[in-house]
């Protein structure tokens, strides 16, 4: 009797994962349906106006600017983070003296655990003003947001890539060295091909993190509904729009916010699914 009950409850808990994911899509869609009905899909994602109508009723809402803000900031973050994270991963596995490997590795893992709000605050008070001095424009800008986001995902990406690189059998590396290959050639022709899936998987997982990140960006992107004509101008991203304006939104605007959340969830769901099914498949 207890045996059956236990099996049933653990089965229910496992099913709950599916139920929650379905419920997230369902609830977001339910609240977004007014906005979906009024603005459609293509029209919504290609409109750059976000204006509440008179007396706080109705209005015109389009997601173009936050969608672009999200994609651009994530793009900058990845351009910045990928080479550095790869450098750290290669350094930790192939270059670093044995004594340094453990402490640097642990430091990287600890940094991946620091709450993202800390990165955001550091960007607001220290990094942003320095970027402004170097590149002009404003201290809270698309560039600052992208770079802070990049710095935030570096430890995460580096740690997973390092683990992927570490799975390369040393026999393979040693045979390449025995043939007279240089260290770079071993990394390029033996390690990267072998650990390719894990490394690309780590990049896509980091991409997913960057896309949905709120707090590291909220402090430094400026949060204004404007198309940035240069990298050093402020703009807004989907998570920041939600974080700043959700609580005060009126009826139709709130519905448009849920629509934005649904689109963000869709984008991140697709990204992660791709990472899981194409690149990280054989890891478990």
């Amino acid at each position: 009797m207890f045996n059956r009950l236990f099996r049933l409850s653990s089965y229910s808990a496992a099913t709950l994962v599916l139920v929650i994911l379905a419920a997230i899509f369902g609830v977001l869609y339910y609240y977004a349906r007014d906005a979906i009905h009024d603005f459609g899909f293509w029209h919504f994602i290609t409109t750059s106006t976000w204006e509440v109508g008179e007396d706080d009723e109705g209005g015109v809402f389009g997601g173009l600017i936050p969608i672009l803000g999200t994609l651009f900031s994530t793009g900058i973050a990845m351009l910045f983070a990928v080479p550095i994270a790869m450098g750290i991963a290669v350094f930790l596995t192939e270059i670093s003296p044995e004594k340094l490997k453990a402490p640097v590795g642990i430091a990287i893992e600890l940094l991946a655990a620091i709450p993202s709000i800390i990165y955001g605050m550091w960007g607001l008070f220290y990094f942003g003003p320095i970027l402004q001095k170097l590149f002009g424009g404003q201290s809270n800008s698309l560039l600052t947001a992208g770079l802070v986001l990049g710095i935030m995902v570096i430890p995460f990406m580096a740690a997973i890539s390092r683990d992927a690189i570490n799975t390369t059998p040393s026999v393979l590396k040693e045979s390449a060295y025995a043939m007279g290959a240089t260290r770079f050639e071993v990394v390029k022709d033996v390690i990267f091909p072998y650990a390719k899936r894990g490394i690309i998987g780590s990049m896509i997982l980091s991409l997913g993190r960057a896309l949905g990140e709120t707090m590291a960006v909220a402090f430094v992107i400026g949060g204004v509904f404007r198309f940035p004509h240069s990298l050093t101008q402020p703009t807004i991203s989907i998570p920041v729009l939600l974080a700043n304006n959700f609580a005060e939104a009126g009826d139709l605007e709130l519905s448009a916010m849920f629509y934005m959340a649904l689109i963000l969830f869709g984008i991140s769901f697709i990204t992660i699914t791709i990472a899981k099914f194409f690149f990280l498949k054989d890891q478990k």
Partner: protein, 276 residues
Amino acid sequence: MNATQRRRLLLNRLILILSTAAAVIGLAFLFWILTTLLIKGIDSIHWRIFTHDLVEKGLRNLIVGQMVLAGVASLIGVPLGLLAGIYLREYGVNSAFARFIRNLSDVMMSAPSIVIGVFIYGILVAPVGGFNGWAGSVALAIMMIPIVVSTTDSMLSLVPQELREAGIALGASKAQVILSIVLKAAKIGLVTGILLAFARVVGETAPLLFTSANNDYFTLNMDQQFPSLTVSIYQLATFPDKPSQNLAWAGSVILTALVLLINLTTRYIFRKRKIK
């Protein structure tokens, strides 16, 4: 040495230098952030912030509130995550359903935290008519579940099959085998996973912004808006006055110290086990 060899060696040296430089740059940024925190921490932490609430420029109610939110989230999320993980490893194993749930759980682990906040607003704030502590805790619990599922799943897979067979040979039921043999064998790994999941959600801000929101006063009543350290840091840091900003830094340092402490503890526990 011919030209090709020279080129290969040169390229090799160049790439190794670039790679080391990348590592140094990356670590320098991260070191910069930690030093900033440390300096700001020494600057802004006084005993009085632990004994006063936000209304009196202290952090007491916020620290307690954040711990309560994450604690209640653990009470909801940990049992569910453990049960689901047990199902995946002990009953489902490699069935299509188990593999499907395992993948979904990994996808859920990467869901944007703000979206989870929006979702909880839809089911626990809008219908009730106001922000409340329960909504915040449930949002954090949803973030915890996939983390606990994943660690439980992999920790149970480390338990040798012979232990289960020995239990069955003694006539124990499957539930008895799981509860009194498998879970005991995997105990340390499971505790580590739970601690890490707690550390992960205790520093979250986005899922709390419009679920439990914030409260300037001390309260333990989860039916009301609930004090949150992270939400307060977000608000205080954007105020123009220095005292508010310093309070935000103090909060950040305390939060980081807590998260790093939990991480180091789990590392210590885990290593101790390996030595045995």
